[in-house]
Amino acid sequence: MSIPRLLAIARKEFRHITRDARTVFLVTVAPAFLLLTLSYIFSLDVNRVDIAVRDLDRTPLSRALLASLTADGDMVIVARVEQEKEIESLFAREIADLMLVIPHGFADATLKDAPAEMLCTVDGADAIAASQTIGLLESRVNEWGANLRVQRTNSAIGGFDVSSRAWYNESLKSLISMVPGMMAIILCMPALALALALAREIETGSFESLIATPTQGVEYLLGKLLAYEISGMVSVILAWLVATLWFRVPFRGNFFSFLLLAADYMIASMGISLVIASFVRNQQTAMFLILMVFFVPSFFIAGLITPVSDEPITRAIALGLPTTHFITICRSIFLKGLGPSALWKPALTLLGSGIATQALSLALFKKKLA
C-alpha cells in the first residue's frame, strides 16, 4: 500500500465533492440543516386536545365544567355536536380527539353528591395520544369534582408526598433528548454519500480507468473513505454547533472525546455503505438499500423514541445498527457528561463492526476485480 496513492485518491474524491456547490451543500451542510428542521418539529411539548362537546344539561354548572377544562388552552372546544353521528366525520378528518357528552341532570346529580355520569368517546387510532388524552381529561375532571366537594363540605384534600425529579433533562423536554438522538440519524448522510460515490464510478465507467492505474484496492477504498470521513466530520461539527448554540442543548461532556467517538461512528456507518456498495452496480440500488437497510430502521428501532425492543430478533438487528450505539453515545456525552471510560462498550462495538465491515468490503472488492 502506498500512502501517496491513497492521498491522491482522496484528493480526487475531494475534487468530486467540491466541484459542485450542490454536492458540497448536500454532504456537509444538509445534515445540520436537517437537524435544525427536524428538531423544531420535535421540540414541541404542547399536547393540544381538541374536543367536541354535546352539552345536554345546559346548566351554569355544566358550563363551568367546560370553562375550567378549557381554561389553560391545552383543551380546546372545536365543535358543538347536535347529533352523535356528526362525530364520525370529525374523527375521520382528525378534527376532534374526543367527544364529551354531558347528560341531562348532570348538575342535579353533582349537587346531590350522587356521582354524576359523564360520557367521553375517544378516537383511539393513535393509542399513545389517546391514553394521554384520557389521562389529562380524567385528572382535570377529578380535580374539578374534588374542588367542588371541598367548597361544599370544607374537607381538605391531600395525598402522598411524592417528589419526582428527572435527571439530565430536568423538565423532561423533548428537544433536549431528541436533538442528541437525532444527530446520530442525520449523520448517516455522509455514509450514504460514500456509497453513492462508489456506485457512481462503477455505473459511469470511470472505475475501469482507475483499475488501469497502479492503484490497489486498499488504497482506492481507504482513499474514498478518508475523503468522506473528513467531509463527514465537517458535518459533525456543524451539527454540534446547531445543537449547542441554536438549540442550547447542554453539552456536559468532553468535546474531543465526542469528536473521537463521532469519527468512530463514521467508520462504522461507512463500513456498512462500503459493503452495500461492493455488490451493487448502480446508484439507484445503492440508495434504495441504504434507505431500507440502514436509514429507516435507524429511525424506528434504534431507540430514538421508544427504547430498543426486548424481542430477540429485533434487538439483534437494532444492536447491529451503528445508529443504536451512537444514539446512546450522543445522549450520554451531551446530557450525562459521561467520558470514554463509561462509554467503552458502545465505542468498541462501533470500532469492531467498522473494521469487520471494511475488511469484508475489501474482500468482496478484490473478488470483483478478479
Binding site: 436537517l34 353528591d113 356521582p115 354524576a116 368517546t121 374537607s155 417528589s163 425529579r165 450514504l192 455505473e203
Partner: protein, 368 residues
Amino acid sequence: MRIWNLVLKEFIQLFRDWLMTTFILTLPALQLVLLAQATNSRISNLCVVALDLDHSTASRQLITALDNRSEITVCYHPAALADTHRLLDQGEATLAVVIPSGFASDLADISRTPSVQFIADGSNNVPASIALSGAQKAISAFAKETWVFGPDLAPTIDLRTNVRFNPEFDIRFYSIPAQVGFIIYQVTLTVASIGLARERELGTLEQLMVIPLGRIELVIGKAIPALVVGAINSLFMLAVAVFFFGVPLRGSLPLLFVLTLLFIATEIGYGILISSIAHTQHQAILFVFVLAMVDIAFSGYLVRIKNLPVALQAIAQIVPLHHYLTIIRGVMLKGAGLDALWPHAAAILLIGLLVTTVAVRNLSRSLD
C-alpha cells in the same frame, strides 16, 4: 402508441438489473414486517431501580405495587444510593424509586404524610414520562389500599370512557398504516426521481430528445413504471398489514387503492421535479433524502400536526404524506368514506397537479 414503446423501454431497463428488481419488490414488505415486529404493541417493562431504605412490610408492598404495573418492572434492588446513580448513569434503568426509612411509621401516623422519591433518566423523555406516570398510578393504587389516613378519593364525577376504533390501545394500529405510507412513499420517490437524472448523466437523454416524443409523453412514459411498482408494493403491504398483523380494514379497499394511486402519482410528480433539477443521480438521491426527512417530519406521525405552531401547520398542509396518512387511517381504522375524507383527497390532487405542472415546465427548460 409511442408512449408504450417508452414504457416498454423503461420496464426493460428496470428489470434488467435483477438485483434492483428483487429488492424493490420484496424489501418493502420485509421491512414492514421488521418494523411492525419491532414496535411492541405497548411500551412495557421499563426497568426500575427500587432503593428500599425502610425494609418494612409496607415498603415491600409498595415495590410489589410498582412491579404490578405493566409499563414498569422492578429489576434492581440496590443497597446504596450510589448504585442507584450508577444504574441511571449507565442507562440500565429508566426510573429510580427511593423509599426513605420511616416510611412505614409515617404511614401509620395520622399526623404525618408518607413520602417517596422518584428519579427518572430524562435523557430520553418518552420512556421517562411513561415510567413516571406508571409509578404515580402504582402509588395511588397503593395509597387507596393501605393508607387508612389518606384522603377520601371517591370521585364526584363518574367519567365513562369509550375508546373507538382501537379499544385495546394497540400502538401497531397507528404505526403499521403509517409505515405502509412511508414505504410506498420511499419506493415511488426513489424510482421516479432517478430516471431522468440517470439518462442525463449517462448521456442517453440526448437520444431520448431526438425521438419524436412530446415532453408530456416523456413524463407519462417515465411515470408509468413507477406507478406500477408502487401499486404492486402497496397491495402487497396492505395484505401484510391486514393478514399478518391483524390491522382492521373497515372501509372500502377500492377507495383506499384509488387514493393510494393518487398519492403515488403525486409523489412521482415530485420525483420528476427533482430529476429535472438535479444534474447527476448523486444529487437527485441526496435531494430525495433531504425531502424525505422533511416530509416524514411533517407527516403527523411522530408529532401531531395540531401541536405545531401555525406557520408549520401551513407547511404540513402541502405535504402529501400527511394527507395520505390521514386517509389510510381513516379508511382502515375508522371505516371512513370519501364523504368525510374528500378534503384530504382534494388536497393531494391539487398538490399533484401543481407539482407535475412545474416539473413538466422545468423539464422543458432543462432540456433546452
